[in-house]
């Protein structure tokens, strides 16, 4: 078979215009280089109805692009109630055409799924949300069970894995958490400083920064960073394992994916977020102290003394509990989103995003619930 040649050309002519059946003559090379130039023209040369003869005796070369064109012509004419017959092909061209089964349409799949009406969409989304909530709850249950088992039988927990996670999710997050905590304290202090000065409350900055950081902002901000850094990583890691059937492999080897993959990450989350929150709190308080010292011009001891008075052990404990709960939630949701990943690569991206979003939403919900509990208990 001769090699394709860019300079080659194709020629299409209609022979004897009033004759029936209409005859189209193809001359030259019908291949990837030439097919663009005649495809539309060939379709237009077909009659509105009736049979068509294609004379291909002088066709030197025919490739897949050419056969696709012949398919298109045949299909168009068949829809119009006619037929296309091709004559004079060389034996190898004919063999190719036989493989292509010209008598059966190449079905162009419908471009988009059927439109849904608004009520249908609402219903669909609601059921999706419902299914998502149910599957979240189911996983949450098995994770709690798995973690409880791990606590009862600590020797079966992969501790080296836990340690590894604590390093990457905890220790390595220290710089970012500290910087953000410091800036939080500084900005909060700075925004309040001038008003406090106007009202003669120059000495009271610690009463604002201390409780706000320790009870609320420290744990909250730490867990948001944890969701962005580690929740997403957990989801991506487990999701990729899911796509590669590694999770299935664990299951068939009789290893519980929850114990193997999820529990170490949860333990790391539970251990590390409170510790990180401590650093965030300290950094935030230092930020406030700098404002008190240099913007409000108070001696440092004013700030520290007041801090000792306003910060109760309950505040500190409450902050730690919050961080712990948020950390467990974020780690758990990251893992669940990973396990829910469908078996294709785009799904990994989706579950990573949804790990962060769902994580932050759950932090907000848990925070609200804890605030109410604290209110009711009068802490």
């Amino acid at each position: 078979m001769p090699a394709p040649d860019a300079s080659a050309s194709i020629d299409l002519s209609v022979v004897g215009d009033s004759a029936s059946p209409r005859t189209l003559r193809l001359r030259g090379r019908l291949d990837k280089c030439t097919v663009e130039t005649i495809w539309t023209r060939a379709c237009q040369a077909l009659p509105r109805s009736g049979d068509v003869r294609i004379d291909a005796a002088e066709l030197e070369y025919l490739d897949g692009f050419g056969v696709a064109l012949l398919h298109d012509l045949t299909q168009i004419q068949r829809r119009r109630g006619g037929s296309v017959s091709i004559h004079g092909l060389a034996p190898d061209q004919q063999a190719f055409l036989d493989l292509a089964e010209l008598d059966q349409d190449l079905q162009t799949p419908s471009p988009r799924p059927p439109e849904r009406s608004f009520p249908q969409l609402v219903g669909l989304r609601t059921t999706e949300l419902w299914h998502d909530a149910r599957s979240l709850l189911t996983y949450l249950g098995s994770i709690v069970a798995g973690t409880a088992t791990a606590a009862l039988r600590p020797h079966r927990t992969p501790w080296s894995e836990v340690f590894e996670r604590c390093t990457t999710a905890g220790a390595f997050a220290l710089p970012v958490v500290s910087v953000i905590g410091f800036l939080l304290g500084w900005v909060m202090g700075f925004s309040a400083a001038f008003i406090m000065h106007d009202y003669g409350a120059d000495t009271l900055l610690a009463a604002l920064i201390g409780p706000a950081m320790v009870r609320e902002l420290g744990p909250l901000m730490t867990s948001v960073v944890f969701a962005a850094r580690s929740g997403s990583a957990f989801a991506a890691e487990i999701g990729t394992m899911k796509v590669n059937e590694e999770v299935d492999a664990l299951t068939t080897m009789g290893l519980d994916p929850i114990r193997f993959l999820v529990v170490p990450k949860i333990i790391a989350g539970v251990l590390m977020t409170p510790l990180l929150a401590v650093f965030a709190n300290v950094a935030g308080i230092v930020g406030g102290a700098l404002v008190s010292r240099f913007v409000l011009d108070q001696p440092l001891v004013v700030y520290t003394n007041l801090l000792r008075d306003v910060l109760t052990p309950t505040d500190i404990a409450l902050g730690m509990v919050k961080a712990l709960v948020f950390g467990a939630l974020v780690a758990g949701i990251g893992c669940i989103r990973g396990l829910q990943t469908a078996a294709n690569p785009t799904a990994v991206g989706k579950s990573t995003t949804s790990a962060v979003v769902t994580g932050i939403v759950f932090i907000a919900i848990a925070d609200a619930i804890l605030a109410m509990v604290v209110q009711v208990l009068g802490i």
């Binding site: 090699a3 097919v35 490739d63 897949g64 064109l69 493989l99 190449l106 079905q107 799949p109």
Partner: protein
């Protein structure tokens, strides 16, 4: 008169920078033949193929495809050269986020000026030629391994390449599916005149499809034998005969 080879490999040093596996190998591949690259595990088959498809810089020597030296081709010339070859990777390497039809159409979208309908027609034809009619809308994750390989062949053929490279087409397939794939390759080679270069271990597949093979060897750091599979089986060289015999005993 023998036709002009479509691939000419001369004095090729195979390996990675700082780690040479084979020294100065050379062979020719002729248009329309199914050419096999054989050899024990780790002898550099996949590496040789990576050199040939331009993924890995040559350590020495030259490779010409359709008269163009692949290590000298730049820019426009290189794109033209790459359009002459299609590659089926060992795991198929279909894009998981696209349907089979979109996978096959992708090179057409990029490299042709056809309308959407026309590109669809060409892609659909490719899928039909590999027997995947009716699966156009499926995602790669929703079909079997053998079907994925066939889809990958359809994609490799999308732009009407003159040479298609296959890395271990039989790997991971049962003997029947593997035999079907062999039949498909043979049919495509004989009817469409496509040249196939395949890396394989599967003895049945070698005898069924390959017109000529080369046998690479790690110890010899080069080509141990070259010729028709049947000739090599009866080779007086014990190392060559052993490759074919041991493989024959190993396969069911």
């Amino acid at each position: 008169m023998t036709p002009r080879p479509i691939i000419e490999v001369r004095d090729l040093d195979v390996g990675y920078p700082g780690y040479r596996i084979l020294d100065g190998i050379g062979f020719d591949v002729y248009p329309g033949e199914v050419f096999g690259i054989l050899g024990g595990s780790g002898c550099g088959k996949s590496t040789t193929m990576k050199h040939m498809i331009g993924l890995l810089p040559l350590l020495g020597g030259s490779i010409k495809i359709a008269g163009t030296d692949i290590s000298l081709a730049r820019g426009e010339e290189r794109v033209d050269l790459l359009r002459q070859i299609g590659v089926m990777y060992q795991q198929g390497a279909l894009f998981g986020s696209m349907t089979l039809l979109e996978n096959v159409r992708l090179p057409l979208d990029e490299h042709t000026h056809l309308t959407r309908h026309q590109r669809d027609m060409v892609a659909l034809l490719r899928l039909r030629l590999v027997g995947l009619q009716g699966f156009e809308r499926f995602m790669p994750s929703d079909i079997s391994g053998g079907m994925r390989k066939r889809a990958a062949i359809a994609r490799a053929m999308a732009l009407e390449p003159r040479v298609v490279f296959l890395d271990e087409p039989a790997a991971g397939l049962d003997p029947i599916t593997s035999a079907e794939l062999d039949q498909l390759i043979l049919r495509l080679a004989k009817t469409l005149g496509i040249t196939f270069v395949m890396v394989t271990h599967e003895l049945a597949s070698i005898f069924d499809t390959n017109d000529r093979v080369i046998l690479l060897d790690k110890k010899a750091r080069g080509i141990l034998a070259e010729g028709r599979p049947a000739e090599l089986r009866d080779s007086p060289n014990p190392a060559v005969a052993r490759f074919f015999r041991r493989n024959a005993e190993a396969s069911p």
